[in-house]
């Protein structure tokens, strides 16, 4: 196993207590082939009214993180440690009852695959009114009005009629809108959107993103937006977190990360994304290799097997020592800031133009 440098202690929370702070989150699943370290020491913060984008290839632990925040993992088959504080309330050690009070009420989640996320057995209206009736103690009538109002807000035509329809009578886009309406029934303070638009075509995608934006203004809720689509994130998020192999490798505001990326993985991501304005024969350079197995992650910096610049770092630092991630704008890479600067300007930026 790699010799870990002193695992960096959780950086002390700076500034006023942020709305949601995740400190050194570790999530492990045991499967018959061994222990899968899905999330391996992740820390980040989300402020109220702000949107945090989480980007990374599939298998980087994005969805697992957010399911852990909601506490939806089966205690028998998963071990979670570290600290998640939502608006002052610690979640990892919270009891099931407390979590049930929060889910759907203070924090809500929109799932990726609208087709299987809604229950085929109940009408959309009923599935929408359930959380409202539970958390707000509303009557059936009030819940129905609320639901119809939300359906209208998310742009579903004739909401009164569609209230009594079943999910299989909705199209893909409509179903995703219903999912969003369901999540927003109780004006949650924290909204986690797990690739909400992946299954949708571009036009509907834009509508959904604007909708989330408007709702954020209206309710001032914090949004965690998970995607592997950098285009969407650039439009949506305020801050950005790039995840790789269960860890954050780069953190910063959207502008900083997209325009001044400092981690080789982020470079790779940006350069493997087609741009509208780039000319046609511009070569796209995908990142070689495939995401690492979380069963026994590579030693040192998990990205080193695929990193084109590891020989720029003296000695065997990259393959032995895992680079820490600092606070605020930072990247987890052994390259010196100057090296990062020069490589980005010489090699990466021309490709992005």
């Amino acid at each position: 196993m790699t010799t870990l440098t002193k695992t960096e202690d959780a950086p002390a929370p700076t500034g006023p207590e942020s709305f949601l702070s995740v400190r050194d989150l570790k999530v492990q699943f045991s499967t018959e082939d061994g222990i899968v370290k899905a999330v391996d020491g992740l820390s980040f913060d989300v402020e109220r009214g702000k949107t945090l984008g989480i980007v990374g290839e599939s298998g980087s632990g994005k969805s697992v993180t957010n399911l852990t925040i909601l506490g939806l993992h089966n205690p028998r088959s998963s071990t979670v440690d570290g600290e998640i504080v939502l608006d002052g309330k610690e979640l990892v050690t919270a009891t099931e009852r407390e979590l049930e009070q929060l889910r759907g009420n203070k924090m809500a989640m929109i799932f990726q695959d609208p087709l299987t996320a809604l229950s085929p057995f109940y009408t959309v209206g009923r599935q929408l009114s359930e959380p409202y009736m539970k958390h707000r103690g509303a009557s059936k009538k009030e819940a129905r009005d609320r639901a119809i109002q939300m359906l209208e807000k998310v742009g579903i035509p004739q909401p009164k009629v569609r209230f009594d329809d079943y999910p299989h009578q909705f199209s893909g886009g409509m179903r995703q809108r219903a999912m969003i309406a369901m999540a927003l029934m109780c004006d949650p303070d924290l909204l986690i959107a797990d690739e909400p638009t992946t299954a949708l075509d571009v036009t509907v995608q834009a509508q959904i993103l604007d909708l989330l934006k408007d709702l954020q203004q209206e309710f001032g809720s914090a949004i965690i937006f998970i995607t592997h689509d950098l285009g969407v994130i650039s439009h949506m998020a305020d801050d950005l977190l790039v995840m790789y192999a269960g860890r954050a490798v780069e953190r910063g505001s959207v502008r900083e990360v997209l325009h001044d990326p400092r981690h080789p993985y982020t470079w790779g991501l940006l350069s493997s994304m087609p741009r509208l304005d780039s000319d046609i024969d511009q070569q796209l350079t995908p990142i070689p290799g495939s995401p690492p197995s979380l069963l026994n992650p590579p030693s040192g910096c998990p990205f080193h097997p695929r990193c084109a610049f590891r020989d720029e770092v003296p000695g065997t630092l990259c393959t032995d020592v895992r680079p820490p991630l600092g606070e605020g704008r930072s990247t987890a890479c052994h390259l010196t800031p100057e090296q990062k600067q020069t490589i980005f300007i010489d090699k990466i930026q021309p490709r992005l133009r």
Binding site: E96, T116, A117, S119, P120
Partner: protein, 325 residues
């Protein structure tokens, strides 16, 4: 929905007619008929002819079959009197109207079926769900374990033991027998308790295991997790969402079991000396009593067909995606 029910009822009637025909001709193909059996020891051809004549067995088969089937709707007259609308003919052996005999025996079978169903649904499916809910706990292991052992027992083994323990050696309970619920509800309950429990025990095992495995399957579904994400409690999600999906296989098997039980549970009736429909079928076959056999068979087939239609309707009710084609 109505159009579906209409089409299926027509299908059921046709099937009923076909089964009636199949049974009738099967019966005739059997090695001997009632007359030769009843002719007794010193049976002269003359006597054989008299019996056949008296019972109308000398008519052509098609005619006999037509008389029988038309009798069901229009009623028939016999030397001993008229037999009103749902007339299933007159039993050769006992000379009684088959419909009256069946109606006289049906409450016993109904009690066994209804009582048994309540027990194996509540205990069987209940245990299956609980062991799915508390998977891996001692309760789960105990429930699955006992259900497996029970499923290997058979009525004619379990019955005598239960009788020996509760009735013969200790006398805690008196002999199981059927007293109409209208006359003496308590007597009805105690009289039929043992047979119902023993009969249900065989089904309980199957329902426990089926409920458990289909519940586990449903709990792994995506929409169950969404419901949890909405803040619904584990119990609520269990009973509202996972349960609906798990119902389908259970309803299917329930449909088949109930209809076959209503057709008579011969082994239970013989073990506990109860007079149910099952024994009527056996006696009918032994005595070569054609009307009785036809009557009991059609009576059983009726339930099977009705329950099949009900099961299909239940599918559509449980899972709206299933269109009633």
């Amino acid at each position: 929905m109505l159009q579906f029910i209409l089409r299926r009822t027509v299908g059921a009637l046709v099937t009923l007619f076909l089964i009636g025909a199949a049974t009738f001709f099967l019966f005739v193909a059997a090695p001997s008929d009632y007359a030769s059996l009843a002719c007794g020891k010193d049976c002269s051809p003359q006597r054989l002819e008299d019996i056949r004549q008296a019972l109308g067995l000398n008519l052509p088969i098609a005619q006999q079959f037509w008389d029988f089937m038309s009798g069901i709707f229009m009623g028939r007259d016999f030397p001993t009197g008229h037999c009103s609308a749902p007339c299933l003919g007159q039993s050769f052996y006992s000379g009684d109207m088959v419909w009256n005999t069946i109606m006289d025996r049906f409450p016993t079978t109904l009690t066994l079926t209804a009582g048994g169903a309540v027990v194996f649904l509540v205990v069987g499916v209940g245990a299956g769900m609980i062991s799915a809910y508390k998977r891996g706990s001692m309760l789960d292991k105990f429930a699955t374990g006992t259900s497996m052992v029970l499923s290997s027992f058979q009525i004619y083994f379990l019955g005598p033991i239960v009788l020996w323990i509760f009735v013969y050696s200790t006398g805690w309970m008196d002999n199981p027998q059927y007293t109409p619920i209208t006359q003496d509800p308590w007597g009805w309950f105690t009289g039929m308790l043992l047979p119902t429990l023993v009969m249900a025990s065989i089904f309980t095992a199957q329902y426990t295991r089926m409920a458990r495995s289909s519940m586990i399957e449903q709990l792994a579904e995506e929409h169950v997790r969404t419901a949890r994400a909405k803040g619904m409690s584990r119990k609520y999600v269990f009973y509202r969402y996972a349960w609906r999906g798990a119902l389908i296989p259970i309803v299917t098997v329930l449909g088949i079991d109930l209809s076959s039980m209503l057709g008579g549970a011969v082994v239970t009736e013989l073990t506990f000396s109860l007079q149910g429909i099952g024994r009527l079928a056996v006696d009918g076959a032994i005595h070569k009593d054609l009307p009785m056999t036809m009557g009991v068979m059609l009576f059983g087939a009726f339930f099977i067909l009705i329950f099949n239609i009900l099961t299909d309707i239940a599918y559509a009710w449980i899972d709206p995606r299933v269109r009633l084609s």
